[in-house]
Each structure stands twice: as structure tokens, then as C-alpha cells.
Symmetry: C2
């Protein structure tokens, strides 16, 4: 069996699809004007830019003036949470204990500024409970932020139901949908959210560009000041090629749903079932309420990092923890929150499937995995003690 | 004389040069990994990314760990000023009255948060005086921010001398060098600055990417939280193609100095001298301490916007005020600060020259300009009263 190149880290980032890159190219060298300029070069670019906004909005079931382009998911999350906090001045925020650091660490910083925060627990599958959300609401709660799906274990949260609860209590609701947009059908006309964050590089668009959906009429304070771009919420000369690439990738990704999701789910389930045949392997996250491309498993008695390196040597790209916090020795806060002990958390690996992955990729991984696990377990001191 | 396409709005933005675009391309579709990922795809990208940081630093006379990549000049300015303010908690800031809105409006917002700000006046040429800077220093002054050169009238400030003053008093010094980097030779080893902001799209790099230089050892608080990218000062998955494009464009632009600046100055002076032959035209800004590509003139008795439209119809792209605040009816705060009355300010036009502009471009503008001015003045009610 010859070495293959198998990329299964689409949760970390994805390649830009050819159609998106081609859509971007003219905006580097030909249609390069500043969209704020009044001359023909500027006006032509403004027109294309606003068309990209229209496409982005339509792909999400939103209105164009509800879309604010940002530099990515991290900035979208920061603008939503900090912008609402800045406008509010003080009060209480509810979030979950398994959010991405771009929500969790913002909340911790807001605590330093005098805000109070409830970090909701999750069950063993990574699910937030609606009862917990409702029980946490205080008179001064102004924001609930719960991610649409978790980046590590793939658990999909009951976003619409949480949003309904928030609306009933007159509380703003934000969801970090970075892992969901382009992966699961989603319509903002039906979701009860006030803010939604997305990032282009997670759905085969370019890095360095994202968007924040903000429901019409919802008011927050800007964090940055400068020119009047993005209706003053996100100033700075617009990243026109980035926005065009985002809109093209989003339009295509959404157009390919739900077929693409079904296909990914089949691949995912084939990989999960194959991996579970290895001894002492646990599936992390929820079996059904799960991102179509996410597989997260713990191999008992061995280090996830060692598995990763062995996979890497055989051409397979996967991840342990999220790429954003690689290098850290702490076990993932997500795996701790779903109740994994330290050792099991450290033996976990995420495979995240996406565009381009095939049955052959899955079978290649299933072929090389058992000997990798076997070899590492033979070298493992934990295994010797345990077994 | 046939219509030409003449782009003279390089102060607003520039086309991406071919070498920069070509350097970027592999990072969209082949080297697409997340630089934080541990697998080969991630490691290869990390290597290229840090090489781009090294090139960026070397081009500025800085160390690689003094460079923080951002989404552009606006974000760099916000991080420097707000980050220092957040760390400081309270105190006094000195800036000039002709800063870009990405500094000026940040200062106004910080005033709302309890900070005090001195907005230094400028002389009729747009120069800040060192005496004014020193006289404004208070015991609680923690930051001076003066732009390296003005985006509208092109006046180049005595940055090194202001920096020396700041250092003498133990005050941080930030300069918005968005209009200067790649235009004038600059060496951070010799400039006495703690922070410097730059933006790639002003020197034939891509939009949506910039950098903040922060002198080693200077501490500020981050504004956004998320992953640990850019040593936690600017989290979010790195815009790898953008950074590669920035570094390539910067390396080439700096390598072409000072010859390029000399050539631009010749073109600039030819345009200034030609325009001054038209009756009732004033040069705004300083005759010598001026960006090599900047021409800003006021045509008495007529509206700058009308001149712009006439130029546009004949294929010439220029600007009135800065592109960032176009659409506003207020006269430019810069032109007001140098003492222009309302009417004169409204008759001003900026031509900003850059890569690709030729003597033929200059002569084309000098050919079409007198009849445009003549025709508009004939239609002008102000002219009828005045003349």
C-alpha cells in the first residue's frame, strides 16, 4: 500500500476552491480600486463588493444590510460580544464551557472588566441543556452565546431553541457558527439568532476574511474606529478580493447542501465504525447530533500527538485538540468538559472531513491505523501498567 | 487627444503587483494548511509564514518578533492606541489634529472612556511643531501618536525628532506610517518609535492585510481574544496568502527606493508646476517635506467633486478628501486644520502618484485640466460674484 496524501483537517482550515480563487483574481490587479473612491475604478469595485454582500446574505437567508465583513471568525465573535458589552456597560452573559477560545477568552476578559458570566456545563456528549440556559438567566442577563457546533467534538447544539428562549426573555443571542456554515443547511429567517459568526476559510474560501450577521435593529458599539466602512462597525479599507472569494465559496457550498452533507456523513460513519473496531477506542461527542465531517476518538493508553505524528509520516493530516491551541500541554477544555479524564483526553484525535475526501481516503486511514495504535501501545508505559 | 486610463489615486489604494500576486497563489490552493497545525501541511505553511515575517522585519530594520500581522492600518492603529490605553487604565494622549480617522476617532472614543487627549495644531503647511509637542506633555501623558506623513496633503512630519522627545520623557510613541512605508526610505533602527502601523494595499500589496511594529519589551493589552496567534496580540487564523503578498510587495518596494521616490518626485513636481500655471490654484501641504507622490491643490471658485467627475469622464482617477470619508459633506478636517476656508477646501483635489505612472500621464492631466477648470468656473456662481 503506497503512501497517500490525505487531508482530514478541514476543521482547522480548507483549501480555497478553484472557483473562489478565480472569482478573486481580477480584484487584485484589474479591479483594484478603493470601493470608497468616487471614480469609475472605485465605483466598479463598490458594485462588485455589494453584489458579494448580496450573495452572502442570500446564502444565509439574511438581508444584505445585516452582513458585516470582518477579518474572520475571531473578529466576528469579538465584535458581537464586546460590542454588546460596550453598549450595555455592565451585566450578565451566559455562554457554554465548550466554546472556542474566541468566545471563552473574550468572556474571561469581560469578567475582568466587571461583567459576570455563567459558563454552562455540557453533558457527556457535549450538549448544552435548555433547562440550564433558562435557569441561568438573571435580571441583568443581556447576552447568550452558544456555538452552533463544537469545533473539536462536532456536537451540534439546539441553536434555534436556545434562541427562542433568549427572545422570550428579551436577551440577545449570538452563535459562533464557524464550523457550521457551509456544512449544515441553515436559514437565518428561521434561526432565532441576533448575531452569527462565520469564517470563509472553513468552507473553501480564503483565510483572513469572515462575516458577522447582526439582525436588523440590534444595536452594539463599535470596537475599532476609522473610516466609515461596514457602517462604522468594522472600519478599514475593504478586503475586496477576500469578500468576493467568501461569497463565491459560500454560494457554492450552500448550493451543494444537503447532498454534500449526506455524502460527508456516509464517509464519517464509515470512518467511525472502522475505528471503533480497534480495541479501547471511544467516540467523543454525540453520535447523531454531529457535524457531517467530524470524527473525534480517544485511543486509550497512548498519546494523541504520537498518533498524529505517525499518521503524518504516512501522509495523513489530522489534529489533536484544535489547531488554535496546539503546542499547549493542557488537555482540551472541551474534552475535560465532557468528562474525559486527563489520560483519555490526551489520547484523542480529530479527523475532520471535507471537500475532496473519498472512500479511498477513509479506507487508507482504516488500513494504517490499527498497526499505528498497536505499535504505540506496545511502547506505552501506561499500557504496560494498565494491561 | 484620445482618452487615457490614468490612475492617480495611489494614496487610496494600489493594484497588487504581479510578483506579489504570484507569491500568494500557492497559498490558496496548495499550501493551504493552518500554520498552527502540527502535520506536514501545517508545518510547511508555518515555515513560509515566518519567512514572510522575517522579510517584513528586515525590510523595516526591525526584528521578526517585533512584527504583528493585522488586517490593515486601521486595525494596527487601534491595537497600538487602545492596547496601550487598556494597559494604562487612565491618562493623557497627545496626537495631531490632522491624523487619519483611524487615530483621531480612536482618541475621541478614548476620551469618552475618561482618557484626556491633546490634539496638536499644525501650521499652514501641515507641520506639527516640536515645541507644541513638548509643551503638551503632562505628568500622566503615556502616548504620543503623530502620523509619519499626512494622507491628504502629503506633509512629512519630523517623526524621529518627536520620537526622541517622547523617549526623553518616557512616553510611548506611535506613528501611523501607512502613507510612508514603501514610499520613503525608513529604518526602524534609527526612528525612535515604539509602534508603527502599515498597510499592504498602499504599496502594491493586497487589501485586508497590514502590520503593527511594536518595539521589543513594550507591553500593551490585547483587544481581541481567541487562539494564541501573533503572540496573543492579534488572534485568529493567520491570513497566510495576505502576509506572503505583503512581505513580497514590501521587499520589492523598499528595494526600489530611493530611485523610485526620486522618479515619483520628478513626476510630482512636473504636475505641481503645470497645475500652478492655471489661475487661482493653491498648493496645499509643504513644498519640500512632502510625500514623493502627493499633489494636493485647491482650485478656487469651483467644487473639487465637479473637477473629479470631469477628470473621471476623461479617464483620470483622483480624489477629493480621502477615500475613507467620501460621501461626507463636511470639509476635510486636514484642510480646515491648515487654515483653508470652507470654499477653498471644497475646491481641493488630491492626485497621488505611484507605480506605473508616467510622464505621459502627467502631461495628459496637464492638457485636460485647464479646459475643465475654465468650464467649471464659467458655471460657478461663486466665480461670477468673485470675478
Amino acid at each position: 500500500m503506497s503512501k497517500k496524501n490525505v487531508y482530514m483537517d478541514h476543521g482547522a482550515t480548507t483549501p480555497v476552491r478553484q472557483e473562489a480563487l478565480e472569482a478573486m483574481l481580477p480584484f487584485f490587479t484589474e479591479l483594484y480600486g478603493n470601493p470608497s473612491s468616487l471614480h469609475a475604478q472605485g465605483r466598479d469595485v463598490r458594485k462588485a463588493f455589494e453584489e458579494a454582500r448580496r450573495i452572502t446574505a442570500a446564502s444565509l437567508g439574511a438581508e444584505p444590510d445585516e452582513i458585516y465583513f470582518t477579518s474572520g471568525g475571531t473578529e466576528s465573535n469579538n465584535i458581537a460580544l464586546r460590542g454588546a458589552a460596550k453598549k450595555q456597560g455592565s451585566g450578565h452573559i451566559i455562554t457554554s464551557s465548550i466554546e472556542h477560545h474566541a468566545v471563552l477568552d473574550v468572556c474571561k476578559d469581560l469578567e475582568k472588566q466587571g461583567f459576570t458570566v455563567t459558563y454552562l456545563p455540557v453533558d457527556q456528549f457535549g450538549l448544552v441543556s435548555l433547562e440550564d440556559v433558562e435557569a441561568s438567566i438573571k435580571p441583568d442577563t443581556f447576552m447568550i452565546s452558544v456555538m452552533a457546533a463544537n469545533n473539536e467534538v462536532g456536537t451540534v447544539q439546539p441553536v434555534s431553541e436556545i434562541g427562542e428562549l433568549a427572545a422570550k426573555h428579551g436577551i440577545l443571542f449570538h452563535t459562533d457558527a464557524v464550523q457550521v456554515v457551509g456544512q449544515i443547511p441553515l436559514n437565518l429567517k428561521e434561526l432565532n439568532v441576533d448575531f452569527l459568526s462565520l469564517s470563509a476559510h472553513k468552507f473553501n474560501g480564503p483565510k483572513g476574511i469572515g462575516a458577522l450577521y447582526k439582525r436588523k435593529g440590534v444595536k452594539i458599539d463599535p470596537l475599532y474606529h476609522g473610516g466609515g466602512q461596514e457602517r462604522k462597525l468594522r472600519p478599514g479599507t475593504e478586503n475586496v478580493p477576500g469578500v468576493v472569494g467568501l461569497s463565491k465559496a459560500l454560494e457554492l457550498a450552500v448550493g451543494e447542501l444537503p447532498q454534500k452533507a449526506d455524502a460527508l456523513e456516509k464517509l464519517r460513519d464509515r470512518l467511525i465504525e472502522g475505528l471503533m473496531e480497534i480495541d479501547d477506542v471511544l467516540l467523543n461527542g454525540h453520535r447523531e447530533k454531529r457535524l457531517p465531517g467530524n470524527i473525534n476518538v480517544s485511543f486509550q493508553y497512548i498519546e494523541g500527538e504520537s498518533v498524529l505524528l505517525s499518521l503524518d509520516l504516512q501522509g495523513v493530516a489530522a489534529s489533536s485538540g484544535s489547531a488554535c491551541s496546539s503546542g499547549s500541554l493542557d488537555p482540551s477544555h472541551v474534552l475535560s468538559a465532557i468528562g474525559l479524564d486527563h489520560q483519555t483526553a490526551h489520547g484523542s484525535i480529530r479527523f475532520s472531513l471535507g471537500r475532496g475526501n473519498t472512500v479511498e481516503d477513509i479506507d487508507y486511514v482504516l488500513d494504517i491505523m490499527p498497526p499505528i495504535v498497536e505499535r504505540l501501545r506496545q511502547m506505552s508505559p501506561v499500557r504496560k501498567e494498565g494491561g
